[in-house]
């Protein structure tokens, strides 16, 4: 590392521009190349030069020869002309001669020019010239002679052979010269060839040399390029690595970053980081695609330990099969090579990196690891230090807190001590004075003690007397019962005999009695029977009171009991001309386990009473099943009935409805008392309903199974068990699966960037209509029939917009809407609802862009689709500002103005409504004081009018609001801002929130509630529920949970208001009561409610934030029927409401 840096340092000493322009290698190459090119050029030039000279010489030779030829030819012409003339003597023959004579000097002169520089040839030319001159002279002579007419002389001259000699000489000289030139020509042609040979050689040699140089340059450049690339790769690696480990990172995060980097940059498939923990122990703290393995290693342990001890990278090529396995969901394999490198800083190994590769490693991989080793070491050391520092800081914080606690405690004990010392002083003084007093009172006390002793004796005496009296009383009572029992027996014996005798008399078997006497005897019998009945009744009652009744429970059929009754009373009824019917209701149990004799007794009493008090009409006995495992016997008559105030009296012993009754119908009046006592003994009871003049119904209720230990007095209707059935969990969409819809859609041919719309509709025919309309308007569409499918489809296809039905088979559209709005990836997708059910307020509040109620016409649907399109096409957000004050309006506009927001500011509520009718706004900011009507009225109107969109509303007002006003506004607006110094800031904040949906719009609790709120719950339809709760959030949540189910909600914000509300609306069915409230808390309120007799049975469910059992017991003790802990569990609350809602 340091060598590298020093080398770099040396290279760049003096700045980047100083030094050689090129590295030495390439420089030398370039110099050689330049030299070679120069050399080749030189050689080529030279050979060209040679060739050109040779060519010139050849040409020259040929010219010389040509010239010689010309000269010879001219000479011959001259001779020919001379001969012709000599022969003919005619002048025209002389012409060639004259011409030659004129031209020859010129030609000779030319020849001289040509042979200049060649002395031999020059000499020969001179000789030739001489010969030509001689020849011409001879010719002249001859011609001159001929002209003079001396033909013969001329011929003589000719015959002298002088001319021939000259001619020969000329010929010989020309031939010699030509031969000489020809020799030169051959020589020059050789030269030419030589030059050509040299030239080719130079060309070939030079080209080869150049090729060689180019090759070398290419190799050098390539090597340089590679080296540079490796350097860049290494540097980039170092740089990226440096970025990854930058900043304050915790160790685990650092490790993760390092390994992710190495994994991607080096292409390692698996990796792990171990941190040195001192004493040569290494602990794994980060893994990359690691299967579970050993976490702790020691220096010298295994390969890694070895590398750590040697503090140098280790490369392992033949990796054992099970070493650092690479696993994936599909299988696992072994890496081909393993690289283990230490991360050192200042010579200490701080961590070890272990990487597994599926490829072969190169030296640069090792180099990179080497280079980053130190920065990794430093980073890990820093991170370790930081972690340590954090720990220390935390420790310090803890100690600070501890110190503070001690200080606080010390203060407490100080205060306590002070109080104690003060009270000590006080008490000391008091003690002193008390001592005096004590001494004084001591004597008094002694006296009093004596007196007390006396009194105590007396008291205990009278107590003993009292105890004795009580025992006596009890005894007397028992005696009375026993006496009565005995007495009735004693009475019965003589009565019995008198009855038998009277009967015999009345029968008048002897026939010696007059008719009147017989009648007397019959009267005696009747009176005696009455007396007997009275005695029996008294006996029964006393037995019951004395606890001497023994019950013999057995299983009897109900039919048998009824048969008995029928048999007994049918004749009686017929006698009185009354109807008598027994009915066994369908579904009534056929058997009952009880004491049949006693049941018979009770029923007989009731039926005989009924018959007794009925003059006309009928008596009906009806058996039907009661609640809680009971069986009921109704004995209904059409008799005189019992007035309300007499109803209690009739069951009292020894009392009858009134004296006249007694006189008219007879009887002891004990029958009902006995019946009821018996019924209670059997674990049941008797109740009565009656209208005077129309008849009475006595109902005997008996348990199906008699339990011996049932305390008759404590028999009361069993409290219904709060059965809370938890409904099945909300189905979750299974991601990744997109079931096909029943209606054909565009799922298979979705084009990229298409205007894709998702239609969620369970009715296939309506879905088809929607699809066709969507196609018509140029949308592509996919169709889902259930909520789950819809969510899966959104995840898969990412539609631009959604048309949503509310009533889906699995769960409600509101649930889908909720899930969409809670998912950050889906939140922006605009949703338009089309449904038969009216959840418009909920849906719009949850962020739906519109709501259309079925049945819808084509235009409405088209409008819905267009509205959706307007939403998903990116554009400006619309904000409506309703504010009457010009300056305020302008300032709000200034505040909210930016590129993406279009602000429409209006002055009046009417304007606002008009605008809302025209445009869909994303958010509305409104003042409450408006010139035409109040902000509240505006909101009301907006809610009532269907064609007006209802955007999220922010109330921005200068008025302070009363609790009531706030409550009313809360129904429409979740955000109310009071104008003040800091309110612009909050306004901007809230508007931004609504426009960008940073957070989902609703509190999580409420969203959950809405998700569960599926359909109107029949149990709540039309019921009134009083919600006593002061927290706006909860009121909002509870009303939006209960109201859609058809319940009417009253709201009270504290216990006092709850009482007032109950007084005002006595028909409240159920109360949900918060505990922690101002003015009057929930516990007090419940106690107050229970004090009023007519609210005794009003079901109250307490809502408590407390979790402990005894807190809940407190609620129950205060009068709650049940309780539920906050935060409210929607399912549980609904169950409780259903359980406790009166049927």
């Amino acid at each position: 590392m340091s060598e590298v840096s020093s080398a770099v340092e040396a290279e760049f000493r003096g700045g980047p521009r100083a030094g050689a322009p090129l590295p030495p290698g390439p420089l030398l190459g370039f110099v050689v190349a330049v030299a070679a090119v120069a050399f080749i050029a030189l050689l080529t030039y030279h050979s060209l030069q040679t060739r050109s000279v040779a060519a010139k010489r050849v040409t020259h030779t040929l010219q010389v020869m040509d010239q010689l030829e010309t000269i010879l030819s001219l000479t011959k012409d001259a001779e020919t002309g001379q001969r012709g003339y000599l022969l003919t003597g005619e002048e025209p023959y002389l012409e060639p001669f004259s011409d030659a004579k004129v031209q020859l000097p010129d030609e000779l002169h030319k020849a001289y020019d040509l042979v200049e520089g060649d002395p031999v040839q020059l000499q020969r030319l001179k000789n030739l010239e001489q010969a030509v001159k001689d020849k011409l002279l001879e010719l002249d002579q001859t011609i001159a002679l001929r002209q003079k007419g001396e033909t013969s002389a001329a011929l003589t001259v000719v015959r002298s052979d002088r001319g021939k000699t000259h001619m020969d000489r000329i010929r010989q000289l020309a031939t010699t010269m030509a031969a000489s030139e020809r020799g030169a020509l051959t020589e020059r042609q050789d030269d030419w060839q030589h030059a050509e040979y040299i030239s080719s050689a130079v060309t070939f040699g030079g080209s080869s040399l150049l090729l060689l140089l180019i090759g070398t340059a290419a190799i050098l450049t390539s090597r340089d390029y590679r080296a540079r690339r490796t350097q860049v790769w290494l540097r980039t690696g170092q740089m990226v690595f440096g970025q990854r480990i930058q900043g304050e990172q915790r160790l685990e995060r650092l490790g993760e970053h390092v390994l992710t980097f190495l994994g991607s940059y080096l292409g390692a498939k698996v990796g792990a980081l171990y941190i040195a923990e001192g004493a040569g122990v290494f602990r794994r703290f980060a893994g990359y695609a690691m299967a579970a393995g050993s976490d702790v290693l020691r220096a010298g342990d295994g390969l890694l330990g070895q590398a750590a001890r040697d503090s140098r990278p280790l490369r392992v090529q033949n990796v054992p099969d099970n070493y650092l396995p690479i696993t994936s969901a599909l299988g696992h394999g072994a890496p081909r090579e393993i690289l283990i490198a230490p991360a050192t800083a200042d010579g200490t190994v701080h961590a070890m990196v272990e990487l597994g590769f599926l490829r072969t490693l190169h030296s640069e991989d090792l180099e990179l690891l080497n280079r980053i080793s130190e920065s990794l070491g430093v980073a890990i050391r820093a991170s370790k230090d930081r972690t340590r520092l954090e720990e220390l800081l935390e420790e310090t914080q803890r100690q600070g807190e501890e110190l503070q606690t001690q200080q606080e405690e010390l203060r407490v004990s100080n205060e306590e001590l002070e109080v104690q010392s003060r009270s000590l002083k006080e008490s000391q003084a008091q003690l002193e004075s008390q001592q005096a007093e004590l001494e004084q009172t001591n004597s008094q006390l002694e006296e009093q003690a004596q007196l007390l002793e006396h009194q105590k004796d007396e008291l205990s005496r009278s107590q003993a007397v009292l105890t004795e009296r009580a025992a006596e009383l009890e005894r007397a009572n028992q005696y009375k019962s026993e006496f009565l029992a005995n007495m009735s027996h004693e009475l019965r014996t003589p009565l019995n005999s008198s009855l038998i005798l009277a009967k015999i008399l009345a029968d008048n078997r002897a026939g010696n009695l007059t008719a009147e006497q017989v009648k007397f005897a019959q009267t005696i019998t009747a009176a005696g029977n009455d007396l007997l009945a009275i005695i029996n009744d008294i006996l029964d009652l006393s037995k019951i009171e004395a606890g001497k009744v023994e019950l013999a429970p057995e299983t009897v059929t109900v039919a048998r009991i009824l048969d008995d009754l029928s048999r007994t009373f049918q004749p009686v009824a017929q006698n009185k001309s009354l109807g008598f019917r027994v009915e066994l209701a369908t579904g009534a149990p056929t058997q009952i386990e009880t004491d049949p004799q006693r049941v018979g007794q009770i029923l007989k009493n009731l039926v005989s009473n009924a018959l007794k008090f009925t003059e006309a009409g009928e008596v009906t006995v009806r058996v039907f099943p009661g609640t809680h495992q009971t069986l009921c016997f109704d004995v209904k008559d059409t008799g005189i009935g019992i007035s309300e105030h007499q109803r209690e009296i009739i069951f009292a012993a020894f009392r009858q409805a009134d004296g006249s009754t007694h006189r008219k119908y007879g009887g002891t009046g004990l029958g009902l008392t006995i019946s009821r006592d018996l019924a209670r003994l059997l674990g049941g009871d008797i109740s009565v309903m009656s209208t005077p003049g129309e008849g009475s119904t006595f109902t005997l209720t008996l348990p199906l199974v008699y339990r011996a230990n049932t305390n008759a007095a404590a028999v009361s209707p069993l409290a219904p068990a709060p059965a809370i059935a938890s409904p099945p969990a909300t189905p979750r969409p299974a991601p990744g699966q997109t079931p096909r819809s029943m209606v054909e859609d565009d799922a298979d041919r979705i084009q990229a960037d298409s205007r894709l719309i998702l239609i969620v509709e369970d009715d296939p025919s309506f879905a088809t209509i929607l699809r066709d309309l969507a196609h018509e308007l140029g949308f592509q569409c996919i169709i889902a029939h259930t909520a789950n499918d819809a969510l899966a489809a959104v995840a898969t296809y990412r539609p631009k917009a959604i048309l949503l039905d509310m009533n889906l088979p699995d769960y409600s559209g509101l649930g889908v809407l909720d899930q969409l709005k809670r998912n950050p990836q889906m939140r922006h997708i605009p949703v338009h609802v089309v449904s038969v059910a009216d959840y418009s307020q909920e849906a719009l509040a949850m962020g739906a862009v519109g709501y259309a109620m079925k049945p819808v016409n084509r235009d409405q649907l088209a409008e819905a689709l267009q509205r959706l399109e307007a939403k998903f096409s990116p554009g400006v957000r619309n904000v409506l500002v309703v504010e009457d004050d010009e300056r305020q309006r302008e300032s709000i506009r200034q505040l909210l103005q930016n590129d993406d927001v279009k602000i429409t500011a209006v002055r009046t509520a009417a304007d606002a409504l008009a605008r809302l009718r025209e445009t869909t706004f994303d958010c509305m900011v409104m003042d409450l004081n408006l010139p035409d009507f109040s902000g509240y009225e505006l909101l009301q109107k907006m809610a009532e009018t269907d064609e007006v969109s209802f955007p999220p509303v922010i109330v921005y007002t200068g008025r302070s609001l009363t609790g009531d006003e706030e409550q009313r506004l809360r129904r429409f607006s979740k955000s109310i801002i009071i104008k003040d110094a800091r309110s612009p800031e909050r306004l901007l904040d809230e508007v931004t929130l609504f426009l960008h949906q940073v957070e989902s719009k609703l509190p999580v609790e409420r969203q959950r509630m809405l998700q569960v709120a599926r359909d109107r719950d029949a149990a709540l339809e039309g019921r009134r529920i009083l919600v006593v709760e002061d927290d706006v959030r909860n009121i909002f949540a509870l009303s939006s949970l209960l109201e859609p189910k058809g319940a009417a909600i009253e709201i009270a914000r504290n216990g006092r208001e709850a009482l007032e509300s109950l007084t005002r609306n006595p028909n409240v069915d159920l109360v949900l009561m918060d505990i922690m409230m101002p003015e009057m808390d929930g516990l007090t309120a419940m106690r107050e409610i229970r004090k009023r007799p007519d609210w005794k049975k009003l079901p109250i469910i307490a809502l408590t934030a407390k979790a402990m059992r005894d807190d809940q017991e407190k609620c129950l003790a205060a009068g709650a029927n049940d309780y539920i802990a906050k935060p409210l569990d929607v399912e549980k609350l609904m169950s409780l409401v259903r359980v406790w809602m009166p049927k």
Binding site: L393, E394, Q397, G400, E401, E402, L403, Q404, T405, Q406, E408, E409, R411, V412, S413, E415, T957, S960, L961, G963, E965, E966, L969, I976, I977, I978, K979, D980, A981, R982, S983, E985, R986, D989, L993, V998, E999, D1030, D1031, V1032, R1033, N1034, D1074, I1075, M1076, M1077, P1078, E1079, D1081, A1105, K1106, A1107, M1108, R1109, D1110, D1111, A1125, K1126, P1127
Partner: protein, 275 residues
């Protein structure tokens, strides 16, 4: 070895209290609770935690007395005046923009801080639309707090602190002194709900704009501190405020990222949007 035994006994005692009386001290800072129970031991004249346990289990009447040892009722009005000054300057202006206000004083002890806040709100004209929830686990101190009666010799200190906190009125406007006691104005109490609430076991009960919980977290271990701060976070509205004690910190809390520092010196934080 002895301390080990004592630790076991302490653990059992705390569990016993939880099982019998449903007061959860299991996640309180051990050192502090041990010290306090040790003091209680000498007061109840027992030698070991086990004896204390046996006593408290079999004598329910004794528990309230023990509870007074377990909780540390130290409080004064306008304690750390700069905290109140910061509330006045940084928090109240924002609270003013809410139509109605809810404030939660968690661990209100004998109520000094609650009355201080009520006075501050009255001075800034916000009290009429405010509701202060004052909660504590000790019914005894809640009763004292609800009475609003303090020793008259503490009033001088309170007055000084009130002045330093930037009070705009005189503290004497709010109390009547007689018989060595000072009673605070009933009209303040109309806006306060005193209630039993445990940060260890109970849940959020209302949405509030401001939570003041000072010198309570110091008695908790990290876990319980996190639970309590989590409750505060859930109770606070968007951008609501949280004030804690001068020696307390959110730095190591799991919910650190839910809050931003507003006045670091006075430990006033503002809830920030979870993104």
């Amino acid at each position: 070895m002895a301390t080990e035994d004592a630790d076991i006994e302490l653990h059992l005692l705390i569990d016993a209290i939880y099982l019998k009386y449903h007061y959860d001290f299991r996640r309180y800072a051990t050192a502090s609770i041990k010290r306090r129970l040790t003091t209680a031991m000498s007061r109840f004249k027992v030698g070991t935690f086990s004896e204390l346990q046996s006593k408290v289990l079999h004598d329910p009447a004794m528990f309230p007395a023990l509870l007074d040892f377990l909780t540390v009722p130290v409080s004064e009005m306008f304690r750390d005046p700069s905290y109140y000054r910061s509330l006045r300057e940084m928090v109240v202006p924002v609270l003013r923009t809410y139509p109605s206000l809810k404030i939660w004083v968690a661990g209100c002890s004998t109520g000094e801080e609650v009355y201080s806040l009520a006075i501050l709100l009255r001075e800034t004209g916000l009290l009429d639309r405010s509701l202060i929830y004052a909660t504590d686990i000790n019914p005894g101190v809640l009763q004292k707090a609800s009475a609003g009666v303090y020793e008259v010799d503490r009033i001088a200190g309170f007055t000084e602190a009130h002045r330093k906190s930037g009070g705009t009125t005189s503290l004497s406007d709010y109390y009547t002194a007689a018989y060595g006691r000072a009673v605070f104005d009933k009209s303040l109490r109309e806006h306060i709900v005193f209630s039993d609430h445990s940060l260890a076991t109970d849940s959020v009960f209302a949405e509030v704009q401001f939570v003041s919980c000072r010198n309570v977290l110091i008695y908790f271990n990290r876990d319980l501190q996190d639970r309590a701060i989590g409750l505060f976070r859930d109770a606070l509205c968007r951008k609501g405020f949280l004030g804690i004690g001068s020696k307390e910190s959110l730095r190591f809390s799991a919910h650190r990222d839910s809050f931003i520092d507003l006045v670091p010196n006075d430990r006033i934080f503002q809830k920030q949007d979870a993104l």
